[in-house]
Structures are given as structure tokens and as C-alpha cells.
Amino acid sequence: MPVSGIVVRVQQSRQQQVKQLMEVMEGVELHPACTEELLVATLESTDYRQEHELTDRIQALEGVFSLSVAYHNFEDMVDA
């Protein structure tokens, strides 16, 4: 179950709208601290496929300029 910490850069005029849409996405935990242009969230997924679908959906939201990843842990996905 991969977990990541992300920073999403958004168009200022659409920040509220992007926040609302991200808040209702399953697996997304939006952090209350943010700026007019930057949102911070943690993503939890069952597998890489779901994780990728989630990041794709966020990037496709109107008003999202980019998604950057600050932390990515996939320790229970690795066949150690």
C-alpha cells in the first residue's frame, strides 16, 4: 500500500475549487496548511495502479498546474 506526500501547484483563482474536488477523492488526505498556490496532501493507495490513477486524476483537475512528490514509501509493496 504505497503512501506519498505531495505538493500540488494550482491556479490561485481555482484554489478553492481544486481543494473541494481533492477532498472528496478516496485516498487523498488534504492538509489544512496551504498557500494560495500550493496544496499539500498525503495519498494512500492499495497498489501502484490505484496510486497512478489518483495522481492522474489530480493532475487532470482544472486549475492544477503540477503535482510534485516530496515523499514516496512503498515498503510493503517490495518483495524483500
Binding site: 506526500g5 490561485q12 496551504c34 499539500v40 493532475q59 503540477s66 515523499y71 512503498f74 515498503e75
Partner: protein, 772 residues
């Protein structure tokens, strides 16, 4: 995963993201300090930005990655490709044993047998055809150590200059123009210019998708400073265009006219910096009608002739805004506005570019023309002001350019044609100077042509995929399979190049070995080996040294009692010390998040040529700018009068569209790594052909319709993308080159810039037909 562990990981993820966004922490750092992983630093494996990554390892496997908060390049953030960094190591079909071709199959053999065979084939080629027939196709993805060993192997061991990297395909035009303008390769500024400038011109660079972290810095600057403007000059509307303040579309090849048009207005209206020009600039014109290199054994040498400023202004009369409008499609009024923005004394202006200017049959010229604007306005080598060539590979600068893994080069900008440079190399390498040949042999494209002709009999490809990435690649794939050729390919995965090899050697990659990369801002970064490679995979450096031993020159790589990687670097460092190319001691790189060169008196020089920052410039004058590396030009930069000349193959009645190629966000270069990440493969499973919506309507093509593209080299069936992510200009189509099942380079033309020898992947003529 236990709940408590999961909560801990989530807290660590949130803390890292908050810190990277510059927001207050939720937990004291000590609470998250011990996460059970061993973290080591490394630069990212993908593009030339050089973002810092921390790699978390447990039980010999990578379990986590994070943006390195201490890395000045990216300050804790990685672009979305950061999700896939570790996955590229764990693709199911990693090569784990040497494989020898037997008919149509490959069979596993031992390393001993493989290395003996390589040595035997090289020896046979040396005996029958001489050293030039032994060739090495290298890479801007080689580590600094690997590139250095390969150069020494070829030039001091084999005695052949037949070595050239894939970097010839991505930034040779930038190199040629840096050298003929400033006498020294690589930018004078650094990434801080993204934070400090206020006017950014992007010339054919889709930074939002291809250099997202750098683009984020630029847009963060815009958020803080309302004066900031980003102007996207391009032939294709992209996500960058969408985010820019202004999009200016020009016709393919017309960047030459547009840059001259901007200079025309600056000169006509006397907006230039007269004092800067008098003190720091000399003017020249070069040869014209210089050809396109489409024929084998094409040869060209430019010759500069000094001209006066009056002659230059006469030359610019051909580029009035009205004439530029006719050539480029950019309205005359826009040309005037762009010129005034560049020249505005209250604006700090930077230019950024990548493949749009470099992959160009007049690539050196168009690089020169952008420098001209900065030289005219004096906006160069100062914080927030200057021209900056971005790179696409992680060590195009550090390895290909600085180590000098080109046929004509030696380390630290030296060239084999200069007897003093050869002597210096021979002294450091402790070989007779006669061993290093004085004549360059084959640049990358010509190397593949020579393989076809039979002038090259033995070719070793490392860390590259030329049999998918080279232009007009169909010819070269057939060449590799011809009788009497022996092709060795060292790689981590099966590729279109291993497919045509006689022998495949399994390579370790990224943190499976110790290494260094050098990024686009002259920052050299080191990492330690952090995990073991799979199976019997070995680093390319080891492979080369083992063959050198078998050929009798293993002594070139013997450093008794010393750590091999450190000893190799310290020897390489001798080339640049005291020349303005000074690297730091090895230990410093082990500790720091990269060090920018030149490193002088214990400090990095952030803006070269500027007396305020550069001790070498201070030796020349008390205050101001000194282009001290351009000794032949009296330490001045050269402003080149370069005209517009048409592309090698222009659309006509039979082939009425322009074909341009490039990258998409999800896949890096030929996709050998990213196509093995299932999520990325699912997201973009195949290359599509992008069309302008009006062209699509005319041709009756809708989204995902099957389309046949035909050039004079071949045909390819693809599905259409209309009005989606990227929109090429009317009359143009765009196809990415990552897809090994749909190889667009079977259609591209092997025309190149006669000065830099870099191919033009952005312009050839194509027919577009709807199928079915």
C-alpha cells in the same frame, strides 16, 4: 503494514510535503527521525535538471524515496517522475547475464567468455582495419567515471577517436555555439536565475512537462513578483504555453528569422548597450549556404571573418519586422514588442532552450543568435540575466561535455586537434603523445553510417539506444546486422539496440553503483552504491576495465592501494585545475548536495565571467564582465551574423506537412525504463500523432483514428490525437519517439547542423493520410 507503522509513514509523508512547500511542520523532526530505513543521497536518474533524491533502503531493497530538502536544485520536491525512480530498477526483464547471439537467438554465456570475445573482436579489428574501425557509442547517461574510463580506453588505450555519445543528438549545437561565442562550454549562470529574473523567454522548450521543477521555480517567482513575464516562443502549443503569459507561435525553422528580427529592432532603435559591446564583444560573419550533411562523409569547417558594427546593422536590414512576419508568421508588431522587452533596461531577462534550438540543421547558428540578443543588451552573466541552455540527460554536461566523450574532444574543453592539448592528456594518462590520434573520426550519425559502409567493424554501445534514437534509423538497424560487423550493447534492459547486437552485456544502473552526474547548471553530484544489481549485472566501468586488461592496457586503470572511483576522479580533475574548469576534491562531493564548477579558493563560482563572483574574471579587470576563456578573441565574446536558411527538407505537394518529434511527460527518451513501469505504460501505452484541429477536419481525421505517416524514408501507422495535450501549428504534426513498437525515427531525416553535427529531429516533410 501495522496501523502504527502506517500512521508513522503517513506522518513522515505529510512532514516532507509540508517542509517542501515551506509550510510549518506538524511534528518535531525528532519524532520522525528513526524510520528504520537507511537513507542515501543521489541525483535523479532522468532529465538534466539534477534534482536531489534521498533513497531509503532496507534489506538491500529500495523501500522509499523522497525529495532532498537540502538539495538547492529542487528543495525537497521531485516532479511526478519521482514516483517511478526506484521502479526502473525492478522491471521484470532486467538483463542479468551476458547473452551471445546464435542465429536468431541469444544464449547466456559467462562473463569470462563474453569479455574474452570482446577483446578478441577488438584485436581482430585492429589487425585488419586499424584503430579507427573500433568504435564506442556512449552516453550522456554515463556517470562521470564511466565516461572518463571510456574516453581513456579509446583515446589512450585503443588509440582511436571513434567515440561519440548520444549527447550529440541532444546538445551538440549548444556546445558548438558556447565554444565559438565564449571559448568555453556551458552556461555562465545557474538555476538561481529562475528566482531572480523577471522576464523569461523560452525558445522551443516545453519546460512545464520536460523540466517541471525548474518551471515551478519560475512560476513561484512570478507569484511573488507581479512584474515577471514568461514568453513561450514555439511551434507547438503545450502545457508550457498554457501557463505562460504569452504564446508566440512561429513557423518551423523561422526561429532564425525571429531572433534576427529582435536584434534588428534593438539595433535600429539603438536599444543596445554601447559600452558593453565596445568592451566585451567582437563581431563576425561565417560561411553561408553550408549544407545539411545528408550525404555520407559530409565535411564542413566554418570560417569566421571580422565585421564592423555597421556591417552587422546592414546585415540585419534583411530582418525587418515585416520581413520576419513573412518568414515566421509572427506579427511585425509582436517582433517589435519582444525586442523592447529584451532591451528594457528595467527588466532582468533570461532565455531558456533545449531541443527546439539544438536539434536544428542551423542549431549552432540559432544558439548564436540568442546569444547575440544578450550580448547586444549586455544582459548576461549577472544574477537573473543571461542565456541558459537546458539539457535532457542527467550527465550530458558532467560526462559528455566536461569529460569530453566526443570524437574531437578531450576533458575540460580540450580538443585532439591541438598538439598542446594532446600533450597534456598524454602526460596525465602517462602514454606517449603519439598514442592519441590528432584527427577526429566519426560523430554519432556518421559513426552509424560508417558501420553501414564497413569502415567501422566493431561497435560497443553503452547506456544508450541508438538503434531507436538515431534519425533514419532503419538504415542503421540493417547495418548492425550486416556480415563482418560485431556490435556489443551494454544495457540494463532489452532494447531495440540489444535486438541487433551480437553480444549483450548486463549493466548495473543508478544507485546499484557509485557515480557522479553533472547537471545543466555546472553542478556535479555524487552518490554511493546503495543496493546490489540483479544477477550478474556489472557496472559499465568494470566491463571496460576488464576488456582493457585483456588487451594489455589494464595498467591505465590501476591505482594500487587507492579507491578506484576516487582515484579516477582525482586524475580526471587534473585536466581542469587552473583553467576555469576547476572541480572540487572528491570528498567534498561525497558530503555536499553537488558542487558548481569552477570551484576556486574553496568556493563555487555562481556567475562565470562576472568580477563580482568569478576570481578568474577579477584577474582580468577590476569590475565588470570578462570573457576570459576566449583568448583567441582577445577575451571578448563573438556576436555572429547568421542568416535565415531553409530547412533541409521542406513540405511540398507530395509531402505537405512538417514532422516534428519529441517527448511526452510519462516517458523518458526511448522509453526503455519508463515503459517498464506498468502505470506509465498503461497511461500512455503508444505513441500518437498530434494534429492541429483544422488540419484534422480537412483530412477527415478524428481522435484515435488510424493515420498513415509517410516520408521519403518510410511509413508508420499511428492513431491520432487532436486538440489534446499538445497542439502543433497548422501544417505540422508531432510524434513522440519513446514507442519501440512505432519507431518514428524510421521516418526522420539524418540531416544535421554542419557545425555541431547534431541531427534535426524537428523538421522533415511528411504525408498524412487517414486509414480505414
Amino acid at each position: 503494514m501495522q496501523i502504527s507503522r502506517r500512521s508513522f509513514v503517513k506522518a513522515a509523508a505529510a512532514a516532507a510535503a509540508l517542509a517542501a512547500a515551506g509550510l510549518p511542520a506538524m511534528f518535531p523532526p525528532a519524532a520522525l527521525a528513526d524510520d528504520g530505513l537507511v537513507w542515501g543521497k543521489a541525483p535523479c536518474r532522468f532529465c538534466g535538471t539534477g534534482c536531489g533524491v534521498l533513497v531509503g533502503v532496507k534489506n538491500g531493497k529500495i523501500m522509499a524515496t523522497k525529495g532532498d530538502a537540502l538539495a538547492p536544485v529542487n528543495k525537497g520536491l521531485n516532479c511526478v517522475k519521482g514516483y517511478n525512480l526506484s521502479k526502473i530498477l525492478y522491471g521484470e526483464d532486467r538483463l542479468t547475464k551476458p547473452l551471445l547471439r546464435q542465429g536468431d537467438k541469444f544464449v547466456p554465456i559467462s562473463w569470462d567468455r563474453a569479455l574474452d570475445l570482446v577483446a578478441q573482436k577488438i584485436r581482430e579489428t585492429l589487425e585488419t582495419s586499424g584503430p579507427d574501425a573500433v568504435a564506442m557509442f556512449g552516453s550522456g547517461q554515463w556517470t562521470v567515471h564511466e565516461g572518463y574510463v571510456a574516453t581513456k580506453f579509446m583515446k589512450a588505450g585503443i588509440g582511436s577517436n571513434s567515440i561519440d555519445p548520444n549527447a550529440r543528438f541532444c546538445m551538440a549545437s549548444a556546445v558548438a555555439a558556447f565554444m565559438n561565442t565564449f571559448g568555453s562550454d556551458e552556461p555562465m549562470g545557474n538555476y538561481e536565475d529562475l528566482d531572480l529574473g523577471d522576464t523569461y523567454f523560452l525558445w522551443g522548450a516545453n519546460m512545464s512537462e520536460c523540466h517541471p521543477i525548474l518551471f515551478s521555480r519560475m512560476t513561484a517567482n512570478r507569484l511573488k513578483n507581479p512584474k515577471v513575464q514568461i514568453i513561450d516562443l514555439a511551434t507547438r502549443f503545450t502545457r508550457t504555453s498554457q501557463e505562460a503569459d504569452r504564446y508566440v507561435e512561429f513557423k518551423p525553422q523561422a526561429d532564425l528569422a525571429l531572433a534576427n528580427g529582435i536584434a534588428h529592432v534593438i539595433v535600429r532603435e539603438k536599444l543596445y548597450d554601447k559600452a558593453f559591446l565596445a568592451e566585451n564583444v567582437t563581431l563576425k560573419k561565417g560561411k553561408t549556404n553550408i549544407g545539411y550533411g545528408v550525404e555520407d562523409k559530409f565535411s564542413f569547417t566554418d570560417k569566421g571573418e571580422e565585421i564592423s558594427f555597421h556591417e552587422y546593422s546592414e546585415f540585419l536590414k534583411d530582418y525587418s519586422p515585416e520581413k520576419v512576419e513573412a518568414l515566421s508568421g509572427v506579427p511585425a508588431a509582436t517582433v517589435e514588442e519582444l525586442a523592447r522587452l529584451y532591451a528594457d533596461k528595467n527588466r532582468k531577462v533570461c532565455s531558456y532552450w533545449t531541443m527546439g534550438l539544438n536539434q536544428h540543421t542551423r542549431g549552432t547558428w540559432v544558439n548564436n543568435l540568442v546569444y547575440n540578443i544578450h550580448l547586444l543588451t549586455g544582459k548576461i552573466a549577472k544574477p537573473g540575466e543571461g542565456p541558459f541552455s537546458l539539457t535532457g540527460q542527467p550527465s550530458a554536461c558532467g560526462t559528455a561535455r566536461e569529460v569530453g566523450t566526443f570524437t574531437h574532444r578531450l576533458p575540460a574543453d580540450m580538443v585532439v586537434t591541438n598538439p598542446a592539448h594532446r600533450q597534456k592528456a598524454a602526460d596525465i594518462w602517462k602514454v606517449p603523445v603519439e598514442k592519441i590520434p590528432a584527427k577526429p573520426t566519426y560523430h554519432a550519425t556518421e559513426m552509424l553510417r560508417a558501420l553501414d559502409r564497413g569502415d567501422i567493424k566493431f561497435l560497443w554501445v553503452q547506456c544508450s539506444n541508438p538503434f531507436q534514437a538515431a534519425p533514419n534509423t532503419g538504415r542503421f538497424r540493417a547495418a548492425a546486422l550486416k556480415e563482418g560487423r560485431f556490435v556489443v550493447v551494454s544495457d540494463a534492459y532489452p532494447t531495440r539496440s540489444t535486438e541487433v547486437a551480437d553480444l549483450i552485456l548486463p549493466s548495473s544502473m543508478w544507485v546499484e553503483k557509485e557515480g557522479m552526474f553533472g547537471n545543466a547548471e555546472r553542478r556535479t553530484q555524487h552518490w554511493f552504491k546503495q543496493v546490489e544489481p540483479p544477477g550478474e549485472a556489472k557496472e559499465d566501468l568494470w566491463q571496460l576495465i576488464e576488456v582493457a586488461k585483456r588487451l594489455g592496457f589494464g595498467n591505465l586503470f590501476e591505482y594500487p592501494g587507492q579507491d578506484l572511483h576516487k582515484a579516477l576522479f582525482e586524475e580526471y580533475r587534473l585536466f581542469g585545475l587552473g583553467t576555469g574548469k576547476d572541480l572540487a576534491p572528491y570528498e567534498l562531493y561525497q558530503k555536499e548536495r553537488g558542487v558548481i564548477w569552477p570551484y576556486v579558493n574553496g568556493e563555487s563560482v555562481k556567475w562565470r565571467y562576472n568580477t563580482e563572483y568569478d576570481p578568474y574574471a577579477r584577474k582580468e579587470k577590476e569590475k565588470g564582465i570578462s570573457f576570459y576563456k576566449n583568448k583567441k578573441q582577445h577575451k571578448k565574446a563573438v556576436l555572429w551574423a547568421r542568416p535565415f536558411e531553409p530547412a533541409a527538407e521542406v513540405p511540398d505537394n507530395d509531402y505537405p506537412f512538417w514532422l516534428s518529434t519529441g517527448r511526452v511527460l510519462e516517458h523518458w527518451h526511448t522509453g526503455t525504463m519508463t515503459q517498464r513501469v506498468p502505470a506509465l505504460h498503461r497511461a500512455v501505452p503508444e505513441a500518437l500523432v498530434e494534429l492541429h484541429p483544422e488540419d484534422a477536419v480537412k483530412l477527415g481525421i478524428r481522435n484515435r483514428d488510424k493515420v498513415l505517416l509517410t516520408t521519403r524514408r518510410g511509413s508508420l501507422e499511428l492513431r491520432a490525437s487532436v486538440g489534446e495535450r499538445g497542439v502543433p501549428g497548422r501544417g505540422s504534426v508531432f510524434v513522440p519517439f519513446f514507442d519501440e513498437d512505432r519507431m518514428i525515427n524510421d521516418l526522420t531525416l539524418d540531416a544535421f547542423c554542419p557545425i555541431s553535427k547534431q541531427p534535426d529531429y524537428k523538421k522533415c516533410a511528411v504525408k498524412v493520410e487517414r486509414l480505414g
